[in-house]
Subunit: 361 residues, 2 copies
Amino acid sequence: MKTLRLDLGERSYPIHIGAGLLGRPELIAPLIEGTRVAIVSNETVAPLYLDRVKAGVGGFRPLTVVLPDGEQYKTLEVLNRIFDALLAARCDRRTTLIALGGGVVGDMAGFAAAVYMRGVPFIQMPTTLLAQVDSAVGGKTGVNHPLGKNMIGAFYQPRGVIADTDTLNTLPDRELSAGLAEVIKYGLIRDAEFFGWLEANMDQLLARDPEVLAFAIERSCRNKAEVVVADERESGVRALLNLGHTFGHAIEAGMGYGAWLHGEAIAAGAVMAAELSRRLGWLGDAEVQRIERLIRRARLPARAPAALSPARFLELMSVDKKVLAGRLRLVLLRRIGEAVITDDYPRAALEATLQSVREAV
Amino acid sequence: MKTLRLDLGERSYPIHIGAGLLGRPELIAPLIEGTRVAIVSNETVAPLYLDRVKAGVGGFRPLTVVLPDGEQYKTLEVLNRIFDALLAARCDRRTTLIALGGGVVGDMAGFAAAVYMRGVPFIQMPTTLLAQVDSAVGGKTGVNHPLGKNMIGAFYQPRGVIADTDTLNTLPDRELSAGLAEVIKYGLIRDAEFFGWLEANMDQLLARDPEVLAFAIERSCRNKAEVVVADERESGVRALLNLGHTFGHAIEAGMGYGAWLHGEAIAAGAVMAAELSRRLGWLGDAEVQRIERLIRRARLPARAPAALSPARFLELMSVDKKVLAGRLRLVLLRRIGEAVITDDYPRAALEATLQSVREAV
């Protein structure tokens, strides 16, 4: 097991990464605050891992809340089911919520914890690669709105993250690839050495070599933690973590939440960001090809869907949270390993990118 | 005009109290952050004061969101209408929300600001006595759940409070009295001198003497600000502000939100707290009578409704946020001007109180 520490003063917390962690009560117990525990999971993950976690918090006889599985259920209405269950069971402020699942469960349980009785403690137990390397770390929580992704939410840090790499054994291939999109992202925005390592180790990652996976998770979490410590509430550098996300969110919303996985959408979005960076003269053809090749090797889409016209794409992008005063800011690449956020690009270059990085109709 | 300052480090803010303030752009402008403004109000207040505020923020051409009026609309569903409107108008993170109305509007607009795009700035412009002396100050925001009041919310401070006492001229008598319940509360829990002043000045308050009202508002805000500065997130003394609230919330929920005004319910609740304190030997008969007399003079109910049986009352109280580990903590009175929070009272004394402080059936 490796333990990183996310250092945010009195809100600091540990990130434990390793095999078999869900069955280790001595890791979980110090993170529980209060007198009750409620586990939020989904109908895919609960049959696989709920019993293990229940055993790990045995003394608390936890309440469990099982949500439907999928991005399309990350809504205010489904969030309310968590409140219904907590209130029906008379859970008070001294209840610790545990998020057991992927990014959707983590975002929703975290947001529920942020606002239930104006805030109760919570623990992240991510069971997908995407959640382990990205969404479970850093305190972004929230739900989607029909007009935009993650539009309603809070910055709310967990008391700790327990990433049990054994849970990746049951992860569908498609979800593994989706997680790799966020892993590749860290290489692109701030860790060129890691990008090279990913090029050398992509086959072992796809073969789920446990040591190779564990290294990728730890390195990703380390990158994420450094960025979050520097800028918890995204007033500056944290926005760089959104490489590919403004494009990706438009794909997710435009295709209907759940049709494309988040990781798939941001993979295509990262290629779009790279292509726009090339058009600005920042990346060369060879670099864009390296990026595209690694994304394809990770079995991820490198093109936006043909079904979304560039005009519709622009419309969807315009409600992004990174729009400031009507100007759409994008995360672009100066080179592999260095990202910038900017609204200073020709509109024509963006439109040409939307047209060219698109599946053939 | 009087200006108090709520001192919370970088989240400090001014509370302006006086006549004609809504028409003074120079007070409002420094509180606006970003490039857009959205005013949240309700269908009672908007026809009276919306134009005045719009003129005050003229340059911003504000979006307005008008909600239905009443505690029964303080729900997650109605909250979502604020998000719908903000997103449809493409309001980004640099949008300042203004809450123009009573406690319900302030709590909902404040909560919307806390979670819209994970947090945007907001300004409180309270137009009821209750909001001016209590709910607009201190950063408690949220909505109700069918199983309990204010169960979903956040601590989120405004950038400033502008309490225009002219708005009290249009306030219905019943709402004026409801606000006086919170004013009396400050005297009871921490300001015996103010309690005496209220006994001497109740007739002028009911006659809406502007200077007497302004003094009561300022003194109340000062009391509130001192408590919030000492304990922003209610881990200690702030809970004392909830005198009468655990009883009162049970009345509001039990009778159906909106049937009793919040201030009415907590007035009866304060008498119940006083009676239980008497049964513990802390207050004498004469003090309980003084409290009850002042509440009746403010034209407030001093008895719980006959429709709520003591058994149902206990059930409703058991979901209160102040329940810790199954023990119901109550704010009680050591004397007029000094409150304590305790779960150390005989259950029988509570039951006798519920029976005796109740309208004749």
